[in-house]
């Protein structure tokens, strides 16, 4: 796999495999933060120390085959153009921080892009496993396997009392951040989110918009993750998150059912209006696009719209972001040009989809 292949395939192969409860949970992610003994954390380490680490990982792990992930490739951020990095951020394969700030930054990527190991981000190593639908325990299992695989040749900074030592005190202990991306439009429409969010926070979990900390919930997408990393086992952390997500799934399903029973016409109107806007607009900002796509996605999940697959919307959610639009156009675009291209792209995809099904 070359960088170009990772950039050019719009949706990661892992996303195409439909996971459990995928009508509500889009993806499950587990991240483990690790650091190397006797090397200062990336914020303070010398560039040579960080390069040496990246080279060591390249030698031992790049172009190796992992029995679960296939061939693994190491890509250095210094070899990437700005927009290529942006595309990897939009695919959630690297973080904005690795794209912007990292010295000697690199990422190990698996063929199907479900595994990405960031090197020299805030911590020396961040293992990330991404799976479609609701597969948290499976993602933890995979991340653990990769952790063991890496630990074979790398000495991780570990302390009997504090566990895995991380750059930020919010990650110490397990270094584990487990998160799920949920589409919760019915809970938003029925104004139940405002009641649910504080309760979820009280259970030591955090709810954020899709780009993580600081971002608002666009398109009714919410990322729910654990806050506590110290004092509990990895399995317990994932279990706690899992049980809350299950509750949310049930509540979202119940809210969808109620909406269909009590306000079917209004729901159909909302869904078809959004569909119409997506199918005919000539210019569209990303905020409106994600909102409309959320409506159409809800329409598909509720059985109102039948000739569009939910998958095409997953794909569009990725494709309509600025990095992808510019990659697709092969040039830098102004915001107005992007809005124009975005509308065109969405029209084309919806048109292709309905034509295929008719």
């Amino acid at each position: 796999m070359s960088l170009q292949q990772f950039i050019s395939q719009a949706i990661s192969p892992w996303m195409k495999k439909e996971g459990p409860n995928s009508d509500i949970v889009l993806s499950s992610r587990v991240r483990l933060a690790r650091n190397i003994q006797n090397v200062p954390f990336p914020m303070l380490a010398a560039t040579e120390e960080l390069s040496a680490l990246s080279d060591k990982i390249n030698t031992h792990y790049s172009r190796q085959s992992h029995h679960r992930f296939g061939t693994i490739e190491l890509l250095k951020t210094e070899d990437m153009k700005q927009n290529e990095k942006r595309v990897l951020v939009e695919k959630h394969l690297i973080s904005p921080a690795l794209s912007d700030e990292s010295r000697a930054g690199a990422v190990l990527l698996s063929e199907d892009e479900s595994l990405s190991v960031m090197i020299n981000e805030e911590d020396h190593i961040r293992i990330q496993c991404l799976l479609s639908g609701f597969q948290l325990t499976e993602a933890l299992k995979l991340a653990n396997e990769v952790d063991d695989w890496l630990e074979d040749k790398l000495d991780f900074a570990f302390d009997e009392k504090r566990g895995y030592l991380t750059s930020c005190p919010t990650n110490v202990g397990t270094g584990l951040r487990a998160s799920v991306m949920m589409h919760l439009p019915a809970l938003v429409i029925t104004r139940q989110m405002n009641r649910i969010l504080p309760a979820v926070n009280q259970l030591g979990l955090v709810v954020r918009g899709i780009y993580g900390e600081g971002s608002e919930a666009q398109g009714n997408l919410f990322q729910i993750s654990n806050q506590i990393t110290l004092g509990k086992t990895e399995e317990d952390i994932v279990q706690d998150l899992q049980s809350v997500v299950l509750q949310l799934i049930q509540q979202e399903r119940a809210a969808r059912k109620t909406l269909m029973e009590q306000s079917r016409i209004q729901m159909e109107d909302r869904v078809y209006r959004s569909y119409g806007v997506l199918a005919y607009s000539r210019t569209m900002e990303s905020k409106e696009a994600t909102k409309r796509l959320s409506d159409v996605r809800l329409g598909i999940d509720m059985g109102i719209i039948k000739d569009v697959s939910a998958n095409i919307l997953n794909e569009l959610m990725i494709l309509i972001q600025p990095g992808f639009l510019q990659q697709y156009a092969g040039e830098v675009l102004s915001p107005e040009q992007r809005d124009h291209r975005r509308a065109m792209l969405i029209r084309d995809r919806l048109h292709l989809e309905t034509k295929k099904n008719n």
Partner: protein
């Protein structure tokens, strides 16, 4: 809602900061956020650490004004390995290296308690290779607890078996230390 900075564009980022019970809400648009260096997707971001520093600094905010000087001063604490001072750590919200955890040991329990709901000791995975001795220690501890239970229940035959296993584990631990 309009951006509270420029009062022209729609606010697209909303923060709530709660420090020592004091709540501050910030509503701001992408453009102003960029100018202020707050977190927006794809841009340089540092907001969690800015928020954290309020938390890490808390022993200063809650310490009495008339300090008797019995506690070591914050400035005096620094990491011998990477030279990070506690003061800087509290400001940037990040450790400089693994040794900082030892250097700032005396200050960390209250911080971890606040961040991790009262927890200060790791309860999860232990790395296999470098943590091998730790695995043995933990296994021996666990068996000793089980041994106590067996003796209390007067199940001496099983207890003897367990005692032998503990002895053999302790022996291999001692051998590893010598080797």
């Amino acid at each position: 809602m309009l951006c509270q900075e420029c009062k022209e564009r729609q606010a697209t980022l909303h923060f709530t900061k709660i420090i020592n019970g004091e709540k501050t809400e910030i509503h701001i648009c992408d453009v102003c956020a960029k100018e202020k260096g707050e977190h927006i997707p794809g841009s340089k971001s540092f907001s969690i650490h800015q928020l954290l520093s309020g938390l890490l600094d808390f022993d200063q905010t809650v310490s009495p004004v008339h300090s008797t000087g019995h506690t070591p001063s914050r400035e005096a604490l620094s990491c011998p390995s990477c030279s990070m001072t506690y003061e800087k750590f509290a400001k940037v919200g990040r450790f400089g290296c693994a040794e900082c955890y030892k250097a700032f040991q005396s200050k960390l329990d209250p911080i971890f308690k606040r961040i991790h709901s009262g927890n200060v000791v790791h309860g999860g995975k232990v790395p296999k290779r470098i943590g091998q001795d730790l695995h043995l220690h933990k296994e021996i501890e666990k068996l000793k607890q089980e041994l106590k239970v067996l003796i209390a229940k007067e199940e001496f035959e099983q207890a003897a078996e367990l005692r032998d296993r503990i002895r053999s584990l302790e022996k291999s631990l001692a051998e590893k230390k010598e080797g």
